[in-house]
């Protein structure tokens, strides 16, 4: 067995997230607010990158002075953004990318929200999808309303390991081949996943890898080994590029409970070829994270086309329908979709 979850209990939640610096910065802004300096905070990250988890952690730390409001679909009623009188001094808004509709006449709630956060005395902390944020930044200069911007970085490999293993009990997961540690060769070829936005897809580049640590240990007459657990998380880390949501999905797909082998960890590359309107709908789903069919139809102005496009995206295994009847991008396809969207410049 490897080193699984034996030490996860020693870490605070913030450390497991690997977001200690970000939490410290937000807490510093909250402290400044208490002394009279109000700077609204935007927490910005891509899909499944951990912004809701970070906001939850901020709410937990500041439970005496913070009120949390979560949007789970496009906001159409002004009342949803109105703040009751008993709201605490710090207001946390999750999923603010649901505050606008990308169509003429679809920005009224968004304008009102901006007016509210700039005119009220309370401190506002809001989470935004990275691509919605960039769009709103270029189109409306939203960054002026949020002087403190926290971009959630990719997770470190160790944090990903802790993030995944903290969901299981001690020694619950069996990393196969762990009993017989695999000796690393001196030189080996590794398929390195690379997103090429110029080509709009993810490719796997065979990289000749020299095992320097093995060499070092060999000269020191020690046997260098890499455990099965390390190999599993190395592969998950490379594939997910440090995105915890993608990492979890890849883990789930490779797990044959309670065992997992590093050979079963999938590498995903989707060769996407869509019509422009289909790609636009995909970019909307990427920017909003989840959209219902009626919302998509409203955004593109045609229910018939929405049906047709969603069918195509579903059969291409780029999206799936969740239990709330919203369409989301498949986590394992996320990196390929982003590369394709960047190729078409449908996300900025």
């Amino acid at each position: 067995m490897g080193t699984q979850h034996s030490d996860s209990g020693d870490y605070s939640f913030g450390e497991i997230l690997g977001l200690r610096e970000e939490i410290r910065e937000i807490q510093a802004s909250i402290a400044d607010y208490e002394t009279g300096k109000k700077l609204n905070i935007a927490i910005i990250a891509g899909t499944l990158a951990g912004k809701t988890t970070l906001l939850g952690e901020i709410e937990r730390i500041n439970q005496n002075r913070a009120t949390g409001i979560t949007f789970s679909e496009i906001v159409r009623d002004r009342k949803e953004i109105s703040i009751p009188d008993d709201t605490k001094r710090v207001v946390l808004f999750d999923n603010c990318h649901y505050l606008y509709m990308r169509k003429p006449g679809g920005f009224d709630i968004f304008y009102e929200f901006l007016y509210m956060i700039s005119s009220q005395e309370k401190l506002f902390i809001a989470t935004w999808n990275l691509y919605s944020w960039r769009y709103l930044s270029e189109a409306f200069g939203i960054e002026r309303y949020f002087p403190v911007q926290i971009f959630i970085p990719a997770f470190e490999k160790e944090n990903l390991r802790l993030f995944i293993l903290k969901r299981y009990g001690k020694a619950e997961i069996r990393f196969e081949n762990d009993e017989e540690p695999k000796k690393e060769p001196f030189i080996y070829i590794e398929k390195y996943p690379l997103e090429l936005s110029s080509l709009g897809r993810k490719i796997f580049v065979p990289v000749l890898k020299i095992n320097l640590s093995y060499l070092r240990h060999r000269f020191l007459h020690e046997e260098e080994t890499q455990t099965a657990e390390e190999m599993v998380f190395e592969k998950i880390y490379l594939e997910s590029k440090g995105n915890p949501g993608i990492a979890w999905r890849i883990w789930e797909l490779g797990l044959d409970y309670p065992g997992i082998k590093h050979e079963d960890i999938g590498q995903f590359s989707f060769d996407i070829d869509l019509e422009y309107e289909e790609a636009f709908v995909l970019s909307l789903i990427l920017s909003y994270q989840a959209l219902k069919k009626t919302e998509i139809a409203e955004l593109i102005g045609s229910e018939f086309r929405a049906d047709e496009i969603l069918f195509r995206l579903l059969t291409g295994e780029l999206i799936f329908k969740d239990e709330g009847a919203s369409y989301r991008i498949r986590p394992e396809a996320l990196q390929s979709v982003i590369a394709y969207m960047e190729k078409l410049r449908l996300v900025w």
Binding site: P104, F140, F280, K343, L344, R345
Partner: protein
């Protein structure tokens, strides 16, 4: 010095000494250069179409330079053959060639020089949308002699490269994949301009074809004219090939929202013509009756539809 008579004699003798093999070799060099140029152009074009929008034009930019490189190499080998054959008699041949250029192929020569200027000075590149002479379109090829562009109506225009010396060339994007599109909407003077501007802005920034960045901002302009108000949006289309789709998309969605907000198109009564009646739901039965009572003449249908459209 070469004496006139003896020089002609020498030249004739030299010309007689050219064997078929040499002529075939020269012809093959030219043919190979042509085929190689076409193949490389096709390959680069295919590759560039698979690239991102930003990189497509950058990759296509190298096509003219590669083609000229191939032709320069081909002419080098041909000239080497000519030097081998003629030696000092080349001077005479040059004189003859000069006369030929002066009288017969001067335009061709000017086109080739124009092609060189276009390749190296780059007033436009393959993939650019340009206006040259009376034509506007996307440059699809820059050859030795002429530039090909495809107009919005899908006509292929072949413009001689020498036009570059006499005509002004305007490039809409100049090597970038995005391009500014100016969209004008005309509304009635009494309409609420503030609302109309907000709607136009939202129609532009929400279009699937728009590209907005620090260097490609959206600009809105308002001009009150005597009988109507002009709203102008200057915005960048993501891919210059979608120029007209972008314009149409903004027009359509802006007008749908204008009508919801009571913003109307300029009315004809400014010219002392009766105003066009608004198309209310309650009018529909009357119109249907009108149509049936007047028979099935196509022109009456047209009149009804026309009045509906002009309401926009």
């Amino acid at each position: 010095m070469v004496n006139g008579d003896s020089g002609s004699q020498q030249l004739l003798e030299t010309l007689r000494s050219i064997d078929t093999q040499t002529v075939v070799t020269m012809f093959l060099i030219l043919a190979a250069a042509y085929v190689l140029g076409r193949v490389i152009t096709a390959l680069i074009s295919k590759l560039s179409e698979k690239m991102s929008r930003k990189d497509r034009i950058k990759v296509k930019m190298i096509i003219p330079a590669v083609k000229f490189g191939i032709y320069v190499l081909a002419f080098y080998y041909i000239l080497r053959e000519i030097f081998n054959i003629f030696g000092p008699e080349l001077l005479l041949l040059t004189g003859l060639l000069g006369a030929a250029i002066g009288f017969g192929v001067k335009d061709l020569f000017a086109d080739i020089i124009g092609g060189l200027v276009i390749t190296f000075e780059k007033p436009y590149q393959i993939g650019d949308k340009i206006s040259i002479g009376a034509y506007y379109g996307e440059v699809t090829d820059i050859g030795l002699r002429a530039t090909k562009l495809v107009t919005p109506d899908d006509n292929t225009v072949t413009a001689p490269n020498s036009l570059i010396f006499n005509e002004t060339v305007a490039s809409g994007n100049y090597g970038a994949s995005e391009m500014m599109v100016v969209i004008d909407l005309y509304i009635a003077s009494e309409s609420n301009v503030e609302t109309a501007m907000r709607i136009l802005r939202e129609a532009v920034v929400s279009s699937k074809y728009v590209y907005i960045s620090g260097s490609t901002p959206v600009t809105l302009l308002h001009k009150a004219l005597p009988f109507y108000t002009r709203l102008r949006a200057k915005a960048y289309v993501n891919d210059l090939r979608d120029e007209f789709k972008f314009e149409s998309d903004v027009h359509t969605r802006a007008w749908i929202e204008f009508l919801k907000n009571g913003i109307r198109a300029p009315q004809l009564h400014i010219l002392n013509l009766p105003p066009v009646r608004e198309n209310h739901e309650s009018d529909a039965p009357t119109r249907r009756n009108l149509r049936s009572s007047k028979g099935t003449r196509k022109d009456s249908d047209f009149n009804i539809d026309f009045s509906k459209d002009s309401g926009l």
